[in-house]
Symmetry: none
Subunit: 405 residues, 2 copies
């Protein structure tokens, strides 16, 4: 029995409500040996109180020693083991820029690249052209017509774009066209299985690439494309079906709305800041059972390497905690999708501090006086894999039956 | 390699002896914030000493965040991963009332229900008739004859009974007859696969239901039956074959004797209280290598919501510890099959405190001064899954070889 099937078999309907507050990239490292991490340096009286009164621990959203991308980190928190549910790069890039995938879609992540007069790649990223140039390049090729399918092309960031083919009987069983080395030609797309769908899709994509190449051959530095990460809508079991909780996502950034949409959460649109998110939470409190609230900037400031600014973002989130508590959630979980220590300026593998605040959450360790990595190490939850988090949430929400008689 | 196969491959014969003392539903929660749990409130000088001198930790008998039923909780402690070894409800109910399943048996859990004049279910539990009425109803239908098989019907509790068909070439691949909703007719039994065994068994069961229905149609409120949880003797690898330890079960309640019997432990019969169990342990000390001693009432008082009475049960068990130690076991493990916090009046998902007392058991943390949830959180065993417990027991009992050269 898979973890999802297990959780589905145990889930019970109920009237309780749970909030999952994700501070992106929450976990950190000390700036100097023996110093505090970003979370430990932050003044967080509200979260400290929850840490004292609830359970704390450290969560590995993908697995110990694994640095999660944003997609896997969130899928882990949502209960979908990221090592089991592999989501193609094309699908992630598409939902990441706010596109909604349909069952008719095959999506690929595209790169603009540079080829020489012999067609050999000289730069796989076309000099890392800026996003605005990428958008201009996309505008040149977005009108390409293919027989029987709609094509959607959207810029992502720098030299990256998304290509979607939308139509009946398509397949993502295609090879990547990036040869991964300069000095080689982009590969033709070939079907990876013998299905008529894959053959048809490969043919369509090769037509599209030929037309795109024809259009941009005289541009510079980007004059060719490569495609990879072929994927369809991943067909994840829907959150509400698995956990019997109607879920709403309050996220500002398209990527996180996209991730929530892949598990079937309802997206609350038009939110631009934490105040919007809080008002939306209040406004929608009666309409849903589970609320995913995402704060991006903790990660952004970590990626910037700006320790102090990340501290400030954590403190900003702390100030809204009392207003969340006024709603009287049955379960409140505060954590991150991965660590982004400012000293590393990047996502990292370090387990993420977590608070589980609910009736029945064991405090167990009176030494825990606040929310931070060192304190979480002593917490009742220990260090655990995110595949257990939704079990803990539904259990504490009194929405889980016992296993076996 | 499965966990059982791994343990089997490592198990060594020996002359050492291990005692697994299970206080059912041992784990608990504080009655008030910051207060002690039941175990922490209990005066347990003997277990405290073992906690100081042995290793302590917290064990998840099924998995983190999962609330174990009695069956899975015990199978976890016995080394049989409850998520891998699914035991049907019919088999559990049968062994739970002291029936022994043979290889010829197909067992189902039955409910008495109420139907109206059109055959539609109006109450799936027949008004939750008391056990004595259930026994009377069973007496009406226990004599039903079927061609070529023996039928065994036994009351369980309230509206629940067990039906066993005993004969050659039977199958448990049958659907449930409870439509799970009132206003519908009980379903016919259908074979879930195309095997002749399933077709034959379905036919026999439908005959039995028709005869039972005919007999009890004018009774009230129970005038019909539903059947579910079809299962055969689960065929678990036997404890002695896996661990090379001859095992005896000293349990008072039929359910726990039944669980022990499913893994092939020898049942010591006629025990009615803890004093009996202790005397039996002394009396049988030379005859076995592994002793499962089960104390039920910690769970019962937890289910009652009686914190103080659960404390007293724990204290009662503490008083027998010196007499167990007089036998000089090589390994003594004290734990529970799950938590049953009095404040929840039910089984819960909280990990269970555990002591492993043996030569070679690391104390590791001098802060551990007694046996309780908070202290166990700091213990050498950490929080771990019960799938590792029998490895720890056989290792500390010097009955396990190293893995690989």
């Amino acid at each position: 029995m898979t973890n999802i099937d297990l959780m589905k078999s145990l889930a019970q309907a109920g009237t309780t409500k749970a909030v999952l507050l994700v501070m992106d990239g929450l976990g950190g490292l000390p700036r100097e040996v023996g110093g505090p991490t970003e979370l430990e340096a932050a003044f967080t009286p509200n979260m400290d109180k929850l840490a004292r009164e609830g359970s704390v621990g450290l969560v590995n959203t993908v697995g110990m020693g694994i640095t999660p991308g944003s997609g896997p980190g969130h899928f882990g928190l949502f209960g979908y083991d990221p090592l089991e549910h592999l989501i193609g790069r094309g699908a992630l890039e598409a939902v990441g820029i706010g596109l909604t995938l349909t069952e008719l879609d095959v999506a690929a992540r595209g790169n603009f690249c540079t080829i020489d007069q012999n067609g050999l790649i000289t730069d796989r990223r076309a000099g890392r052209i800026p996003t605005v140039e990428c958008a201009r390049m996309v505008s040149l090729i977005e009108g390409i017509n293919l027989p029987g399918v709609e094509t959607i092309v959207q810029p992502v960031q720098d030299y990256r774009f998304v290509l979607i083919l939308r139509g009946p009987n398509l397949s993502a069983a295609l090879n990547e066209t990036d040869p991964q080395k300069v000095g080689l030609k982009p590969l033709k797309v070939r079907p990876l299985d013998g299905s008529p769908e894959a053959r048809k899709t490969a043919d369509l994509v090769n037509q599209w690439v030929a037309k795109a190449s024809e259009i941009i051959r005289d541009e510079s530095p980007a004059n060719m494309v490569t495609l990879r990460g072929w994927s369809t809508e991943p067909g994840l079991p829907k959150f509400e079906e698995v956990f019997r909780m109607k879920a709403a996502a309050m996220a500002v950034y398209p990527m996180y709305k996209g991730l929530a949409s892949l598990v079937g959460m309802t997206l609350i649109e038009g939110l631009t800041n934490i105040e919007d998110q809080l008002e939306s939470l209040q406004h929608n409190w009666e309409n849903y059972d589970f609320f995913f609230v995402h704060h991006k900037y903790t990660d952004s400031r970590g990626e910037d390497g700006n320790f102090d600014a990340k501290v400030k973002e954590i403190e900003k989130v702390d100030t809204i905690i009392p207003r969340i508590l006024e709603l009287d959630p049955d379960v409140l979980v505060i954590t991150g999708d991965h660590s982004t220590p400012a000293v590393l300026k990047a996502h990292s593998w370090h387990p993420v501090p977590i608070i589980l605040y609910a009736p029945g959450a064991t405090r167990a360790n009176p030494d825990v006086t606040g929310f931070g990595e060192s304190q979480c190490l002593k917490g009742a939850l220990g260090q655990f894999n995110a595949s257990n988090l939704m079990k803990l949430i539904t259990a504490h929400a009194q929405r889980q039956t016992k296993y076996g008689a």
